[in-house]
């Protein structure tokens, strides 16, 4: 069947099997491999993207169900060479180690701050409680999101392009 949706602002149309999961559509059909998958049962949250401005687990949604909707992935957090404060916060506060859960965590964090600009640590923990990080023990993720909250209004955030390796 043919599916059309808006992904990171661009309209895309692909011919897919009805059973194709949204996460596979993004990764395999669109090569947006920043969104990961880590389980079969909607427990791990590495696959979180936004659908119509709501974080959802893209392993538990069919691409067909996302037809006609707006999808936003980690690849859309940085805009015009400017990192989202959430991305900057994760770097500043060591909110990631292996980086596998990070895209999903950041998408939820971005949503949280859009709706609650000054969350408590408890509210942050609650917001990310459907997403598993095996590396950090979460404290640094909480700090990262707090960092973003306190730097949300900075007029300009330097991109981290020069901070590290070549990618």
């Amino acid at each position: 069947m043919q599916v059309t949706m808006t992904v990171n602002g661009d309209e895309v149309t692909r011919d897919v099997e009805p059973r194709m999961l949204l996460v596979h559509f993004l990764r395999d059909a669109l090569s947006l491999t920043g969104t990961h998958w880590g389980c079969d049962t909607s427990n791990c949250g590495t696959c979180v993207v936004w659908v119509d401005e709501q974080p959802v687990k893209s392993c538990t949604m069919l691409a067909a169900m996302a037809g006609g909707k707006r999808v936003r992935t980690v690849e859309d957090l940085e805009r015009d060479g400017v990192l989202d404060p959430v991305q900057e916060g994760f770097m500043q506060c060591h909110g990631l180690q292996c980086g596998f859960c990070t895209p999903g965590m950041m998408m939820t964090a971005r949503w949280l701050l859009d709706h609650n600009p000054d969350p408590t640590d408890g509210e942050i923990r609650e917001a990310i409680s459907g997403q598993i990080c095996r590396c950090t023990g979460y404290s640094t993720i909480v700090r990262s999101i707090r960092w973003a909250a306190t730097h949300e209004n900075a007029s300009h955030i330097e991109t981290a392009e020069t901070a590290g390796s070549s990618s």
Partner: protein
């Protein structure tokens, strides 16, 4: 990652369209709303419907929460997150916020729906107990019109409901009863885990006396509301009365040993959580009355 077996996909444009699709496609069709119960089962190939009827576009028809003087009507497509956030629901039925806060996780709650939860009819599902405790009614719509089924008759068995092949659960009605309040208490092994056991309680007070009480147990092998009238109704709320109600809850529970806990422990929880929920519900009812 596990992937579902092949199926055909249809997207319903209205309730009547959905019902027409279900009539046409027959018993190999399943309705998908949030999909957070059905799709994992399909991925693990524990379910393999031939057709999926997607009703997510029906939010205009089924996505409402309407507070009236004596009833709150909730459309079947209302998401958990909306149930959790709705102050009107929380005011009349604090048990809903108690339970919703503990269902799955915030991201799943963004997409999972009230109707989907009830229709999955998992014995460990929280909202079924909530609806049972609140004496809710389910509106089931078919091509012949609507019928209203009390929650007590909605579950036919594990994973089986009163919703027919070509029918759709469209609304849940929660009666508002003055002097009432409610609470939900649950033990789980970890955030997002299914309950080891849970107890939902609704009480109605009149002048310091309990005039109605309903207890519904989750994951404890009890399908119907627990009849604790003898322990509670006609008496002032007290620790003794709560203990007596808890003893009944414990006695009627039929839990099984599993990885979540021993049957003995779960039976204990039936009582322990019922007492805690009663304390909370009564205290809420009293403070509402005072206010």
């Amino acid at each position: 990652m596990q992937v579902p077996a092949p199926f055909e996909y249809e997207r319903a444009e209205s309730v009547s369209h959905a019902i027409a699709l279900l009539e046409r496609l027959g018993d190999e069709a399943r309705v998908v709303a949030g999909g957070h119960s059905l799709l994992p089962m399909m991925k693990l190939r524990l379910a393999a419907p031939e057709y999926l009827v997607d009703i997510n576009d029906l939010s205009d028809e089924l996505g409402y929460i309407t507070v009236e003087s004596d009833v709150v009507r909730v459309g079947a497509l209302v998401r958990h997150a909306a149930m959790l956030a709705h102050d009107g629901l929380a005011e009349h039925f604090p048990i809903i916020r108690d339970a919703e806060h503990l269902i799955a996780d915030p991201v799943v709650r963004n997409w999972g729906t009230l109707g989907g939860s009830l229709c999955q009819c998992d014995p460990s599902e929280d909202l079924s107990s909530v609806c049972l405790a609140l004496d809710a009614e389910c509106v089931i719509t078919g091509s012949g019109g609507q019928r209203v089924v009390p929650m007590a008759d909605f579950a036919v068995g594990p994973y089986q409901t009163a919703v027919g092949e070509a029918e759709l659960l469209t609304e849940v009605r929660f009666p508002i009863r003055p002097g009432s309040s409610s609470a939900y208490q649950k033990v789980k092994r970890r955030a997002g885990d299914w309950p080891v056991a849970a107890s939902g309680v609704a009480v109605r007070l009149d002048g310091g006396t309990v005039i109605d009480a309903r207890i519904a147990l989750t994951a404890l092998g009890v399908d119907d509301a627990v009849d604790a009238t003898e322990a509670l109704v006609g008496r002032p709320p007290s620790e003794e009365a709560f203990a007596a109600a808890a003893a009944i809850a414990t006695q009627v529970s039929r839990p099984v040993d599993d990885a979540r806990g021993s049957a003995e422990y779960k039976r204990h929880l039936a009582g322990e959580l019922t007492v805690r929920a009663l304390r909370s519900a009564v205290s809420r009812a009293l403070s509402t009355t005072v206010n």
